[in-house]
Symmetry: C2
Subunit: 310 residues, 2 copies
């Protein structure tokens, strides 16, 4: 199924800083920035493209359903091995413009996971208390523990995206944050966290259509915020902020993936595949029993006569 | 679909303190206990029964899948209306002996929900810090906020179940806790929480089979704990503790449901139906727009020419 659907390694194709042929046009480069993303060019990635596959929506939806089982088994192994002390865990960071499909990714990809092993955090505008602390203060307690897949729906990257565009923090503070993020993520990686950072990349035309749909449907009004149009008007500034954030914080231990997201079905299978690749990279194993199996079978057998009510 | 599958109102059939004919044999009564469960008799409920339906496993699995959509829509409405200030939320408490199927309920029923609106807490043996506080100290911060479905996989009821059976707390302290729980849950209910407390009820024979399966499969060893057999040996004491906990804490604002759980498929559809009934009871509504829809459509239209890269 997967072999037929994907004609390339989408995990590599969408990863920033990887040389690719065709598909996305991410350029490889070296540079002096904090991150390893120099040479990356967001403007060269077509939000309507579907790198790695020539399939259509119907096949995409079938692939999404068919790969759920592998995703779940990998997750269960990850969770199981942590019970025996393995430190591995996964952190997925999801960033995007409004209406780019984050909600759909959560409900169609991450909803395939077992709830026990998923820790989802939706970061909102910081509260007064949060603003009184360093920007990472509210993030640190939400990183996943061993065996868990953590999902950040928005994240500490808001602090170099909207905060940059809206000038909520002075330029030198924004500048400081890129380095702070790299160090923060390095610490997570060194304690066993496989980090995957995903930008869902839509075009402004596609966003307009989706916001229009929300306005047209009373059951979707609650998803609409007048501020969405305010932010939309700053599109070039946001893209510049994404470009810079990706350049400065891309790292081997915390790579960025730019996922073309005009096609919802494509973004979903691509994210599913990226998460599966991260789990395969960990290659989690069922832990061996920390007890004597035969002895336990005997103890259990000795209780075989138990009846209730007696 | 639902009409054909259920031949009774399973939400009522399984609710403690409701008079029922056939199916479960929960007796109705009145009493002087803290709760309204006097007259309830756990021993009269057959763990192998399937109250409310004469269907088989295949039909049960079909029903579970078919009702996912209603469950999700109700959940989305609950979440949506909270954005506009509605206080309603749901707390599901799940209690059971080991291997009774809690994990399956989480992975087959609650996994149907949208992750954003589900808050799952698995309560483990209390830590040293938790033991230094009142038993509700660790529970209070985990109750769901508006719009959220909270699921407690084990809960404050452990403090009157294993703690009673194992005498981890003196009898007068256990006695105090029933009343404390009733008051705690009353406070939750008064702030908009619909509480549903579920005991998955298996027979000791069924448990032996499931524990044996875990011991026979290396991929399931991580789910097995030698302590499971120790607790199993105290089966009558546990059932007495459940009986008492249910009697003393059943209340109109926080009812108990005893779900026969020897058939996994039955327990899953029954729990799904109980949660759906709780959500229907709230009857959540799409909130009306807090903005001028036409004005927003005009603002959006004014940005129609936006292109990027420009």
């Amino acid at each position: 199924m997967t072999q037929q659907f994907w004609n390339g390694d989408v995990d590599e194709l969408l990863r920033v800083g990887t040389r690719t042929e065709g598909g996305t046009r991410t350029r490889t480069g070296t540079g002096t920035g904090t991150g390893t993303g120099n040479g990356f060019d967001l403007a060269a990635i077509d939000p309507a493209s579907t790198p790695g596959t020539t399939a259509n929506k119907k096949a995409g939806q079938a692939e999404l359903a068919a790969s759920a089982q592998e995703l779940r088994e990998l997750q269960e192994r990850l969770f199981a091995q942590s019970r025996a002390g393995a430190p591995d865990r996964v952190l997925v960071v999801l960033q995007a413009m409004d209406a780019a499909g984050k909600g759909g990714i959560v409900n169609h990809v991450f909803a395939q996971l077992e709830p026990h092993g998923l820790q989802l955090t939706a970061f909102k505008s910081p509260t007064e208390e949060e603003r009184a602390h360093d920007f990472l203060w509210r993030v640190a307690p939400r990183v996943p523990g061993p065996g868990v897949i953590g999902l950040f729906d928005r994240s500490h990257y808001e602090d170099v995206l909207i905060q940059r565009v809206r000038e909520f923090a002075p330029p030198e503070e924004i500048e400081r944050r890129y380095g702070a993020i790299v160090e923060f993520e390095r610490g997570l990686a060194e304690s066993g966290t496989r980090i995957v950072k995903i930008m869902l990349h839509v075009s402004p035309e596609e966003q307009a259509e989706r916001l229009g749909d929300r306005l047209a449907d009373p059951a979707k009004h609650w998803k609409y915020n007048p501020g969405d149009v305010d932010e939309r008007q700053k599109w070039p500034e946001y893209m510049a902020a994404f470009q810079l954030a990706i350049e400065r914080t891309n790292a081997p231990h915390a790579p960025w993936f730019v996922v073309p997201a005009n096609s919802k079905w494509y973004a979903r299978v691509a994210v599913q595949r990226i998460v599966i690749a991260a789990l395969r990279g960990i290659d989690p194993q069922w832990p061996s029993a920390e007890f004597d199996v035969a002895a336990e079978q005997a103890r259990l057998a000795a209780t075989a006569g138990l009846r209730w009510p007696g």
